[in-house]
């Protein structure tokens, strides 16, 4: 049969974000994949060159709605390295706690999406409900569900109060219990076994050759993890393990992410229990000396790299962002070849592609059933009232 070009996207019901695939297929088999990612380019690298370090952090959080803390942390730690600023231990711990909570919410989100892609919507409902516990913790700590805005050059902006730490610790047992359930499901749930096993397989050698990063690479037995290779924050001093798997398929990537969820819960618990006292920030200079830094960070989707160059002013000379999804596209294109058309959604979803995300605030009041947009001041007033009530109890 002759080869057929099937265009998918940029607007397509099966895609969560705009991307364009041209799938070259022979019958039901995929021969090749070509892709265009141009639909969400916002010129952030260029915009970063015209903002000072205080204004650039909120901008960088908006590179991605899921791993917003990753982008802010990797940039802040790069600038701190150039300025030779040492941030206080408490700030390091708080950065780590937020980073691992972010990883948990991202992986739970992914697990739900992967379930949805194989038509297993119960899993989607379960994981997204559990994710709410993580989101609530993040919201309590930072005031926000998506863009936490915790970082600044020299430390973090918000301290954790004892009641926040208690509330976060109180939510962990439920999550740990649920994670055990997902581990058990991986072994016996037939839908997951049938649709994940053997799909999108990649050997260790291939994962290295295609430059895969994050859970995608670790599922093929490549133990690459920036937290281990180039430790930052407190990863060098706390107990945790790099999770790898040898299956190499979508099933392996699921195993790795569920394993990482458990590791993250462990790290969050450890950091909350061992949170050192002290300052949360040091005053950092307004300008950075001329310098250069390659800042590496393990985002939920894999290694995130910011190449930062400064020129002695309060702005960056150049900021080069390499997101993990860009690194993983090559592996997707390669491991789709020879697979069935029906497996495209789950193979693509298995790298957890993140093109860009935006979010708006809508509030639904459960007691009155009314909804709509509210002003920021009103939100602040409501939050303050809730805090005061919680501090009393």
């Amino acid at each position: 049969m002759a080869e057929v070009i099937i265009p998918i996207g940029p607007q397509h019901p099966a895609l969560k974000e705009p991307v364009n695939f041209r799938v070259i297929a022979d019958g039901e088999k995929i021969v090749r994949l070509e892709l265009t990612l141009a639909y969400t380019h916002r010129g952030i690298e260029k915009a970063a060159e015209s903002r000072d370090f205080i204004r650039v952090l909120p901008l960088l959080e908006r590179v991605c709605g899921i791993c917003s803390h990753s982008h802010a942390t990797v940039f802040a730690k790069g600038i701190e390295e150039i300025m030779q600023v040492e941030i206080p231990p408490r700030a390091q711990y708080i950065r780590t706690i937020i980073a691992e909570l972010e990883r948990m919410h991202s992986h739970l989100l992914w697990l739900g999406v992967a379930g949805h892609e194989i038509g297993f919507n119960t899993l989607f409902m379960w994981t997204w409900r559990d994710r709410e516990a993580v989101q609530d913790t993040l919201e309590e700590m930072s005031g926000n569900r998506v863009h936490y805005n915790m970082n600044e050059v020299g430390g973090v902006r918000c301290d954790l109060s004892p009641s926040q730490v208690r509330a976060a610790l109180a939510r962990l047992p439920l999550l740990e219990e649920r994670l055990k359930k997902y581990v058990a499901m991986l072994e016996e749930e037939e839908t997951m076994l049938l649709r994940f096993k053997g799909v999108g397989k990649m050997t260790r050698h291939e994962a290295l050759a295609y430059g895969a990063v994050g859970p995608t690479a670790r599922a093929s037995g490549v133990a690459c993890d920036a937290r281990h290779e180039d430790p930052y924050c407190v990863y060098a001093e706390i107990p945790w393990d790099v999770v790898t798997d040898t299956n190499g398929d979508v099933y392996g990537r699921t195993c790795v992410r569920i394993g990482e969820l458990r590791e993250s819960a462990k790290i969050v618990r450890y950091c909350l229990e061992h949170l050192p006292e002290g300052e949360i920030r040091v005053p950092a200079p307004k300008v950075a000396p001329t310098g250069e830094c390659l800042s590496r960070y393990e985002a939920p989707r894999g290694e995130l790299v910011h190449f930062i160059r400064t020129n002695g002013t309060d702005k960056v000379e150049r900021l080069d962002i390499r997101t993990p999804t860009l690194a993983n596209w090559t592996s997707v294109a390669m491991c789709l070849a020879g697979q069935h058309l029906a497996d495209i959604p789950v193979i693509v979803a298995a790298i957890d592609p993140c093109l860009s995300c935006t979010s708006r605030l809508t509030v639904l009041d459960n007691s009155t059933g009314t909804g709509g947009m509210i002003t920021f001041d009103e939100l602040r007033r409501r939050n303050r009232a809730r805090w005061q009530e919680e501090e009393r109890t």
Partner: protein, 159 residues
């Protein structure tokens, strides 16, 4: 995991290609020339067992375009190979036949800086929109958006 690379090993292997710098604890930088870049990358890959290309970073220094090829491997040492190419003739050989992941990074650099990677199988647009004008490379330092040029998207009224 293996032991980190030492300065002696990196300098011994790479000094034929140019200066070797020990940037910080586990980071090395080799500054070489565009003619030698392919051989330098092959050597880093084979002799220093750097099996992963982390990324290719680019910067416009106003005198030249700098390209930094960052590699790492099981030894957890980051080795960077740096070259500078002239701004008026931004051309260099592709690395995508040696290292598959370089292909997508080169497409991105071509899009944003207009650097041509000779021998690349498909140097098509990847980040900028498809109706973006030719020969406009937004990350070049001398690039300024021009009010008269149409940069794609929905055309303004009356055009």
């Amino acid at each position: 995991m293996t032991d980190p690379l030492t300065e002696d090993v990196v300098a011994g292997t790479m000094s034929t290609f140019g200066t070797v710098e020990h940037v910080r604890k586990n980071r090395f930088r080799i500054t070489t020339t565009p003619d030698q870049i392919r051989d330098a990358v092959k050597t880093v890959h084979a002799a220093l067992s750097c099996d992963r290309l982390v990324t290719i970073s680019t910067a416009d220094t106003r005198q030249a375009f700098e390209l930094h090829y960052h590699f790492t491997g099981q030894h957890r040492t980051l080795v960077t190979v740096t070259i500078a190419i002239p701004r008026d003739a931004p051309e260099l050989p592709t690395m995508s036949d040696l290292l598959l992941p370089a292909g997508i990074y080169e497409r991105q650099i071509h899009d944003l800086f207009g650097i041509v990677f000779t021998g690349h199988p498909d140097l098509a647009r990847i980040l900028l929109n498809e109706d973006w004008p030719e020969n406009e490379h937004p990350l070049r330092k001398d690039w300024k958006p021009d009010g008269k040029t149409f940069y794609g998207g929905t055309p303004p009224e009356g055009r």
